[in-house]
Symmetry: C2
Amino acid sequence: MVTFPKYQWEDAGVQASAVSMSKSRNRQPTIIDIAEAAGVSKSTVARALSDSPHIGEKTRERVLSAVRALGYERNHLAQSLRSGRTGMLGLVIPDIANPFWAEVARGAQDEAARSGASLLVFSSDWDPAREASHLRALRQARVDGAIVNPVADNVDGLGRFGLPVVLIGSSAERFPELSSVGSDIAQGVALGLNHLAMLGHHRPALLLGSPRLARVRFLRVVHDHCIAHDVDPSTLLMEEGEYTVESGRAAMLRLLERGGDAVRCVFAANDLMALGALLAVREAGLKCPDDVSILGFDGIPAGAFSDPGLTTVAKPARGIGAEGMKLLVEAIEGDVEHRRVLLPCALEVRGSLAEDAGAGPARLAAVGRG
Amino acid sequence: MVTFPKYQWEDAGVQASAVSMSKSRNRQPTIIDIAEAAGVSKSTVARALSDSPHIGEKTRERVLSAVRALGYERNHLAQSLRSGRTGMLGLVIPDIANPFWAEVARGAQDEAARSGASLLVFSSDWDPAREASHLRALRQARVDGAIVNPVADNVDGLGRFGLPVVLIGSSAERFPELSSVGSDIAQGVALGLNHLAMLGHHRPALLLGSPRLARVRFLRVVHDHCIAHDVDPSTLLMEEGEYTVESGRAAMLRLLERGGDAVRCVFAANDLMALGALLAVREAGLKCPDDVSILGFDGIPAGAFSDPGLTTVAKPARGIGAEGMKLLVEAIEGDVEHRRVLLPCALEVRGSLAEDAGAGPARLAAVGRG
DNA sequence: AATCGCTATGGTAACGTTCCCAAAATATCA
DNA sequence: TGATATTTTGGGAACGTTACCATAGCGATT
């Protein structure tokens, strides 16, 4: 049996302690319980808990041991309400089940953990309504800030967000006034194109995605690259898909129908379409890379297991998450440098590319002057 | 220009309103600001906000329009502190970047969204220390409950968690006193074995994982199945890996070395090892499924893109997340039914299995009596 | 010995809600 | 019309912290 000693307090403190003690059977201990146990005021307990220098060594010891004895754990809610900071951050991505975004999430998560923050993760499914609803939830939860891959075209939702925010992904370009992190698509496309050129593929066919910003940019870089290398961009074969395996397969089939044997190399705008292309090539009775070389873009894990393994331009997914989180933390800490960070892509060489033994580069010059 | 009407209040309310009004320039409006704007008390605002029946229709309208006008948003922190419920749930999984767990997370997320809750997601990296730290973070954030894939063997961490918790994954078996959701491995293994038998593969070689509970169970089911089908389990070839592609490849190579041509079929304990086996088969100059059939276990997305596509026993990943969340919500709502749910696996037929044209089933009976 | 500074402590008011109780306003009935 | 239900409202007191201010100690300085 446990009996409590009589305390000598006569004022308001008595009530408070009486209440808390009577309840303390099945309730998590609060700072007040600790104060009682250690025989100090709650202010002192708070000081011990927050490593304040304004507290005696002996007192701190006593408080801390009471904390251990009662198994006290700070109520983060109360702390947040009072201090105005929750230590919670938001992450809104299209789909956590998508390997790319999962990787981004992991990067963000690790970096958040390093600064002692927790991550609230939402999937928007590319739906502006859901995005808006998730942002609202984040605001109501009073997160300190958020990383968002914006799907809504209207600046409103994000502009009104009213909290530190870092954008990730390609669509971030539409909001130049906000900090953002993305992969350097231009560098990545150039990297892929150069690698192809090195293997003798100067005029790869293109498997593009649906007509969004990402596609425009992809095309622009290809265009510039061609011009810079004396290739007439208008002679490039192109087909359009929707960034899925199936659409990639269909697009590749159309491409083969149009181009026939001339199609020796394909640069797909993402890995899923590239994998679809791989299926199409096999279906058409051709072999990759012997007959057709395929280069992907993204670096999804599945690319490692296809046959042949998919050579691809890998986006720095985890780096994007991590860097985004770094920027966010900085923004919250008040080092309000507005920044746009582009992380370089890297070439992931596997087996889907072969050297083109065919004719040398069909140059613009040759065509023009021939 | 906006001027505020003079209010007739003389008491404490005046101070409060004065303070809040002077601050309200760049501060999020609170329930008190709304009360002022609508000319009611904060109690009334709270009632309007919570759809209480104890409020007049006209008043509710007035309050709600003030809410819209000021762009008020409930402070979830304060609400939680007062009501004791946060509407936040935790999810602790080994690795969000792992496709299986990402899928689980997605299932949990969707289901959480349906009940208006937010999800705090953590990756434990199979590290008990991290798991413990994440559970602590969850408790401090005062989540209403959590879904955990337990990695720590000690019941302590979870027993002490003190909040509604639902376990997911195979390791949940170690904590029979807690609700849990998992895939029905026994059913899945049997499903795979039956399918193999149907194709004539009565004695598949086994690619096992590292010696943990999952492996023991896997083996037990195979053993029982063999006995039930008159096959001597001890005649089954087995190799061990670590659930990775590389270890699967190595194990398969060892298997081929040991078994030679006799190895016509392999049942891998997970898809990654199966994919590794696929590589090994190709490396050894053999063809899958013509020479060797390979059956995986898991249903990871990458299996769809290998060549041939990996036939596998797919775990209901998303379903596990969703069902786990349902159980958790129930547990929180107070319908404290303790439950252990096993979700059935499904066969995902792709191309890595061929019919065995070889000899009929080598039966125990035949061996024993021959 | 009185004063000054400094550290260590206690008390109290926030933070923004919800919950309970009392009181006011209105409706209902005899 | 007066008394009694019933609905609608207001006023605090929580929830568990932190921030600020005041003050009690106490050694050092004059």
